[in-house]
Symmetry: C2
Amino acid sequence: QDTEYREKARARLEQLTMPHWALGDLMDLAVDLAGITRSLKPPVKRKRVVVMAGDHGVTAEGVSRYPSEVTAQMVYNFVNGGAGINALARQAGAEVTVVDMGTAADLDDLVKAGKIIARKIGNGTQNMAHGPAMTRTHAVMAVEAGIEVANQLAPETDVFGTGDMGIGNTTPSTAIVAAMTGAPVAEVTGRGTGLDDDQLQQKIQVVERALKINRPDPSDGIDVLSKVGGFEIGGIAGLIIGAAAHRKPVLVDGFISTAGALIAYALEPFVRDFIICAHRSVEQGHRAMHERLGLRPLMDLNMRLGEGTGAALAMNLVEAAVAVLTEVATFEEAGVTGTPVE
Amino acid sequence: QDTEYREKARARLEQLTMPHWALGDLMDLAVDLAGITRSLKPPVKRKRVVVMAGDHGVTAEGVSRYPSEVTAQMVYNFVNGGAGINALARQAGAEVTVVDMGTAADLDDLVKAGKIIARKIGNGTQNMAHGPAMTRTHAVMAVEAGIEVANQLAPETDVFGTGDMGIGNTTPSTAIVAAMTGAPVAEVTGRGTGLDDDQLQQKIQVVERALKINRPDPSDGIDVLSKVGGFEIGGIAGLIIGAAAHRKPVLVDGFISTAGALIAYALEPFVRDFIICAHRSVEQGHRAMHERLGLRPLMDLNMRLGEGTGAALAMNLVEAAVAVLTEVATFEEAGVTGTPVE
């Protein structure tokens, strides 16, 4: 972030007609946005949530309550405007862009109709409980594809949001946070779409096995991604790197998106300055991810949907922060007595 | 709230193309809105924050860092669109209506120009550290004025938000929460606009003295309001009662607004069903207020401005909740496999 613009923003915010820093987190966010965009009028009008979709071989281990077909079915739902992310993006005035990073389905009809972006690295990952989820080459390709999507969309986007769709993808995300932070798997494994106690134990064992077999190197983001990641997670990591390279704020959504952020941060630590954590999800290991990044999420609404829904909601807060910075009068401008009583 | 509409909303939300209740608090809010408005398409388009202004005799005790003149100066700031609430209301697409409930200033020019609503009960309250803040008659008049404002605005308002302006008004609000909950004064007294340690001790002593001298009866909302309240706090209580009587959702803002909600709840317990707590503020005693109401705030953004700023922000969440209820497809509608894997 640009220190000069952070300071300029802070100086203005301290003069606004209100007690010092009385809008708390919104004011911190306004300073970040000024530092990110190098502007005292950070552009935030053109908002976009990019939903990265991919399938997961590890679903063969019974780690999700829903079948893999649902990934592609939900892509159609996104395109038809009927999913949670569509409703929340509309409310926030954001566009939704769907990218096929690696679903197991043939989505050529949607690609040809210009409804989704095709960046398919493979027809779903391999089962990480038996070996690497993907080759190292595929991991690099996934991240590069995300960067290219950011490059493509940057000219028409002021604020990015990340989103994901992929049945089974809390399992690789759990493996990523465990690998990156060293936290015990049981501590960072959650119920995903709604596992019961037995299924949760099974999921913990699957993640432990995947880590034991693959031994991902936490200092190497590509190694972690290739061994226990997913195509859409790599795409999210790339999108974050690309957005940051364009000095655009990127709202990181829930558990899967933040797993992508951990990969991006391992590859390019500078991205941290451009990330805004939208919310804390119900998913158990999300807190450990935020701690690893050293970033505090804006909201906690007991959500656990993914798709970018938290990012879309938080776009209202980004707009609000900019409104505070740009529209509120200073004590001097408004003729309000700003000096406290002696 | 209407049980039948709550159930209908719940039934629809359980069929949406997402894991069960995956949008958490937004879905709870959607159920509340359906129950409040008796509709599966709760109207929320016309949003309005009502900012109640009043002055406080207790400022003579040195409980605020700002002089009382700032109350009226800020009313001009609201009218000119330069305050925090103006910026956040614009972001949320909400109107701002300012009511002079009892400022110490002559605001006739704004009244004649139709810029504010005149409901002045008095030129500021008496100093509650020496006796009742107002007469019982004035307390009744303040609440009635708030109800009448709600009646006047209801035909053109779908969602109300409460707001306040009044230098010194965290002090009566602290006295109200202490009186209503029995909590020790030191536990519920905060720094308001930014008191230092000595000033905080002074404020605690002032509140303790006001409670000792006046002995408000916690079972009698009018008694509490008259002895240790404020004109704008009475107006907020009345606005909440009026909004609830019209079956309109009312977003209650921060510490002062929630003090008004405590008075409203003491007078008419049914209002609780129509209240949505927007956020938890930094002010120390806010949590005890929410516990007393048995309601959980939607956000916690370390804000402490008042003016209705938290209510304005939360209007985005109200819109989002309605979007989820009305715009997201069900599994059947979208052709998505909704039944978990066996």
